[in-house]
Subunit: 234 residues, 2 copies
Amino acid sequence: MVKFKTLERKRFSDEVAEQIKQHIINKQLKPGEKLASERELALEFGVSRPVIREALKILEYVGFLEVIPGSTGGSVVRKANPQLVSGTMEVMFQLGTLEIKELLEARRIVEKETARFAAIRATTEDLARIEQTISYMQININDPDVKTKFLEANDSFHTAVARAAKNQILLLNVNSLRQAVFNLIEKHNPGYKSINSALNYHQQIFEAIKARDGKAASTVMEEHLTSFENRLND
Amino acid sequence: MVKFKTLERKRFSDEVAEQIKQHIINKQLKPGEKLASERELALEFGVSRPVIREALKILEYVGFLEVIPGSTGGSVVRKANPQLVSGTMEVMFQLGTLEIKELLEARRIVEKETARFAAIRATTEDLARIEQTISYMQININDPDVKTKFLEANDSFHTAVARAAKNQILLLNVNSLRQAVFNLIEKHNPGYKSINSALNYHQQIFEAIKARDGKAASTVMEEHLTSFENRLND
DNA sequence: TGCATTTAAATGGCATTACCATTTAAACCA
DNA sequence: TGGTTTAAATGGTAATGCCATTTAAATGCA
């Protein structure tokens, strides 16, 4: 039995987006280069302007292009940006479950192992970066807007640790999971106890990483996140 | 000096997309639910239909929605889909921002921890499901199309183990990473040795899970995937 | 000439209208 | 009753027009 490919009629906008995307991936369109105007692209592809616009908006949203208005504006190819390209991971985590428990657990698991690798691979720059997030948290502990500062520093800390692990997927995973968690508990206002606890754990984790003690780093990270989870349950 | 927030005029389509996205994240819109028609949304938001369409296309592309034509069509909130994540990883790989080494490592890390939880939480149904994938592999080991059957059984095995861990996020993660790996090494044809090695490891992992030995399950899973990585390097 | 001003052109952003193809359900008829 | 036809709803696409912004060219003035 011969197998034929099912013919599927795709949307014009999807095909346009796909073609432009392929050109970018194949380096036929390089970062900084500008595409033709929407009106010209419409002529080239033989479709209407709204179709072109839908395609451009898609590619802009996922990070391939930047669409600039004005006389000399247009659609410019952006530099590769893994963070933007992979908001997809975060999207999936949001759609994946109604149970925040699962999200927290997954985060704990992934991040604890990431900390282990951070201890092994952190450069001096990584160490400095991690330490700085701790200082920042300490400095602002009496700031009137301590909550915002804390959340900032917390983000930076976990990102810095994940970055030290030298694995982009782990970094993306850690960031996406954390982001997904905080999206779901936005009402949560960290109290003085939470902040102090986090600060303390962050210091311990930093020391472990600095001492190249992967086992300790992973253990303390797990404790840190477990403690965070327990605090949420109250 | 008082600091004012710079007013930025965002595009309507971006704002519409953002609002819908937030509703999905807040679970005010759940997977399976259908949005109003484009014409109705245009009225609700007070903008034109093309603006709505641009927003919907963006959200569809990144995986939040599925837009279905026809009389009873519309925009439906999607379920989580590992394929979208692995697809994104593939793009990152093609753009040169991701190395396959990182992918393999991330997979090993996530899956080893997932196996640990599987050992703790697997039900008898889970055990049966896992065992069946092993039988399937054994039965077809002399099949002329053994490679295809092997890949099938391999997928089923790792999915079954992850499913036993009772965490949808981990399941999604495991499947995304495995799919991404196999997308990027498609040319790789598993030889007799690979298949036998995998079969052997799968059996050991199953025994460990059955014995509720989380430590062993995670250790053997890690060995299994390390061995797989080493085989790829040849 | 040189500088400031005005003007015109190009671009993306948006609205409106209209029509098509597909799909579904209601209305109809045998 | 059951198959057929019809109508309605939806997304897909096209076409046109106008607006706001930005830039460069044209203009005017000193």
